[in-house]
């Protein structure tokens, strides 16, 4: 009898609340039914027909400031999300309000893991997909496959969707993406007589590893008071750039079975390249004790010539220079060098609905996500980083001078995380090995061997405990 009612409930497509809770065992059953059903239920506020008042909590790590632009008065990291919540309450569901909390990226994992054990997960999360996949694997994020319509699938590129999926289920509704690149102080390069390596203002320069070395050497000679290149390995923040450096000479990083293979010749050569730069004094000193924040701060304060950035950090930099917070200088973009071709990556970020265990809340959260990610006015905010939607890209290409360059650069993009189980811990295995390599405690080969060994153990363990594979 119980089973029968349960089946009946599942069969009712309008009852999104039930389909939404299929986090573990139920996920297989909900998937096929949902895709067909969603195109009808899309923008309606059917989720909370009871009219129960609720306040949903949304967590995000700092990404962009302002609703549509960092120039707005009072622009802050939560501006857009507060505005989106307000519009949702006003236009869609007056019973649901959204409370926004910004949490620091460094402590996200602590916060979420504590929230998991305290059953105090927020209802919504806005964050990079790759950082959150672990929480999908342990059942803290509910799949969103049922709220994605066919038009979303076509409007957003396959490569982006790939970043948001684990085994055919979508766990992040992509909103924006942020390609990661290098950034350089063109004034410094000019002063050092390196004009030939400077690309156009709205272009992304592509240097070979040897060219980069020449640039850094010349900078070091001409401007000894400036550190030529930023390099960091104090913790896992900004490790995607380090992952990309390791692919510089073509290492595939992951084997076909999803295990690490970066200790191959190409991987070792890449790490050795970085070690050599460091030993020659061409990087900041002590990368083992520096965070990406430290390096970014030094670049902004003109202490470093070539550093890392992503489209958001870069936009924030321009904003800060325009409003006088920072002294102005000519900052331009470059790829992380590669031989034969450079590698580029992008962080796809978007909204997640968390498994709070309360069906009504989950349903409301999903309805909110559906609204933010499809409302034509709101999705325009994705231009703060880069839009994932082609329709938006077309609309804003006039006002975004860098968009063309990023689009052209897309051919270099690789998928860096595989959204594998245990990715969170895998990240924590890499930086100690990089520290060992940078301090000379281990050779490049030893450090990567050790990383591969420990990392693969993590991946295996992760598969064992993932609710997706069990």
């Amino acid at each position: 009898m119980k089973k029968l009612t349960k089946l009946l409930a599942l069969a009712l497509p309008a009852c999104m609340a039930f389909t939404a809770c299929g986090q573990s065992a139920g996920s297989a059953t909900t998937a096929p039914a949902s895709t067909a059903a969603t195109t009808e239920t899309t923008t309606s506020a059917a989720a909370t027909p009871t009219g129960e008042k609720m306040e949903l909590t949304l967590w995000l790590t700092p990404s962009w400031k302002g609703v549509f632009s960092g120039d707005e008065p009072g622009a802050d990291y939560d501006s857009f999300f507060i505005e989106a919540g307000k519009r949702y309450t006003e236009n869609v569901n007056p019973n649901v309000t959204i409370k926004v909390e910004v949490i620091p990226g460094d402590t996200r994992d602590e916060k979420v893991s504590v929230a998991e054990s305290t059953n105090t997960l927020p209802d919504l999360f806005y964050e990079g997909a790759f950082t959150m996949s672990s929480y999908y694997h342990n059942g803290s994020i509910v799949p969103l496959t049922d709220i994605v319509g066919a038009e979303d699938k076509t409007d957003i590129a396959d490569g982006i969707w790939e970043n948001c999926m684990v085994e055919d289920e979508i766990f992040v509704f992509p909103f924006a993406h942020m390609p990661g690149t290098l950034v350089y102080n063109a004034d410094m390069l000019k002063a050092a007589g390196l004009e030939q390596y400077i690309a156009g203002e709205y272009e992304i320069a592509t240097w070979t590893p040897d060219e980069l070395k020449t640039i850094l050497q010349t900078l070091h000679e001409k401007q000894p008071e400036v550190y030529p290149l930023s390099l960091f390995a104090m913790n896992n923040q900004g490790d995607t750039w380090n992952l990309t450096w390791l692919r510089m000479y073509g290492s595939k990083f992951f084997g076909p079975d999803g295990k690490l293979i970066v200790n191959d010749g190409a991987g070792v050569q890449a790490l050795q390249y970085l070690i050599d730069l460091k030993d020659a004094g061409l990087t900041v000193p002590g990368p083992e004790s520096l965070t990406s924040n430290d390096c970014n701060a030094m670049f902004q304060n003109k202490q470093v010539a070539v550093s890392f950035t992503n489209s958001t950090l870069f936009t924030n930099l321009q904003t800060d220079m325009n409003n006088g917070t920072l002294e102005k200088f000519d900052a331009r973009l470059a790829n992380i060098p590669g031989d034969p071709a450079p590698n580029s990556f992008t962080y796809v970020s978007g909204f997640m609905a968390m498994n709070t265990g309360n069906d009504a809340r989950i349903a409301a959260a999903k309805d909110f996500i559906r609204y933010v990610c499809t409302d034509p006015a709101l999705v325009l905010a994705s231009k703060n980083t880069l839009p994932v939607r082609e329709t938006v890209t077309k609309q804003v290409s006039g006002e975004m001078p860098y968009l063309q360059a990023y689009t052209d650069n897309a051919k270099f993009i690789y998928n860096f995380s595989n959204n594998m189980p245990g990715y969170k811990e895998l990240r924590n295995v890499l930086f100690p090995e990089l520290q060992a390599a940078f301090t000379g405690e281990k050779t490049a080969q030893q450090a990567l061997d050790s990383y591969v060994e420990k990392g693969n153990a993590v991946i295996e363990e992760g598969r064992k405990v993932s609710v997706i594979y069990n």
């Binding site: 700092p62 620091p104 460094d106 402590t107 504590v114 929230a115 305290t118 970014n296 701060a297 304060n301």
Partner: protein
């Protein structure tokens, strides 16, 4: 005997003593340097901090860091949280410890020495060691991100019992006995007659515990989940993780975290010294 003392002071210092004092004096001055660096740094611009060779004194006072701190962060709220948590915890500790210490010092009951040994043994266990189960308890009581969650576990400290027991033992039995013979209840005797005598001990415990809780970090960091619930130490440390590239602003945060205790210490220095000494072995 008495006139030996001034003679002793006026006497030339022995070489050993002299060298020792020079070293100690230098060390003391060096001890001040980090604070000098912190406070001047908090008044520099971000670029000024990075300047090498260093700017020993800020060329212009850049107060903006402090404005950013109090406008951009709930720094005032952090300070109030710290005060609230430290005061309430300390009052509870003093109250519970005084009661228990009085019982151990003056009352007779079965299993007293065993219970006291049990209390004292826990002095060896920092609560951080069992932070996993401790945290689960807080979750069970649904106290995460609450003041109570920060306060209650810190009340379970044997130190106060250990400290106050010595003071209560110093109170002559006759006082308690006369009170009891007059028909006063044990609690009245404790509150009206005995407690006032051990005021110095209570004061010492208050100061020591207040400082401890004020400077607590790990536990408060785990409990405070939202920015508004952070204490000053947790909030300040969280500045280090902000992506704000202005290091001077982070130094301003550290300065603000240091100042309240610094002021309290300067004003109440004598009590601190007394408290710390009394807090140890009563000799």
């Amino acid at each position: 005997m008495k006139n030996l003392l001034p003679k002793h002071k006026a006497k030339r210092m022995e070489p050993f003593d002299l060298v020792l004092n020079v070293v100690v004096l230098l060390g003391a001055i060096l001890n001040l340097f980090p604070f000098y660096w912190l406070i001047t740094g908090s008044l520099k611009t971000s670029a000024g901090i990075f300047k090498m060779p260093p700017e020993w004194f800020p060329s212009t006072f850049h107060y903006q860091n402090y404005i950013d701190l109090f406008v951009g962060q709930p720094a005032l709220r952090w300070a109030l949280n710290s005060i609230l948590v430290a005061v309430v915890t300390t009052v509870l500790v003093v109250g519970c410890s005084a009661l228990a210490a009085y019982a151990f010092a003056k009352l007779e009951f079965k299993g007293k020495s065993f219970l006291f040994a049990l209390f004292i043994a826990t002095l060896m266990i920092p609560k951080e060691i069992f932070i996993v189960p401790l945290f689960q308890i807080i979750l069970k009581f649904n106290l995460s991100n609450s003041y109570l969650g920060m306060i209650l576990p810190n009340v379970a400290t044997a130190f106060g019992v250990f400290l106050l027991k010595g003071f209560f033992e110093g109170v002559p039995d006759s006082i308690r006995e006369s009170g009891r013979l007059d028909g006063a209840s044990e609690l009245t005797v404790f509150l009206k007659l005995v407690l006032p005598i051990v005021k110095p001990g209570v004061g010492a415990l208050f100061i020591l515990n207040f400082v401890n809780v004020w400077n607590d970090y790990l536990w408060q960091m785990l409990i405070s989940r939202s920015k508004e619930m952070m204490t000053l130490m947790v909030g300040t440390a969280s500045l280090m993780q902000e992506i704000n590239p202005n290091f001077a602003y982070k130094m301003a945060g550290a300065t603000v975290a240091a100042l309240p205790m610094l002021c309290i210490f300067i004003v109440f220095q004598r009590y601190f010294t007394k408290g710390i000494t009394l807090g140890a072995v009563k000799e």
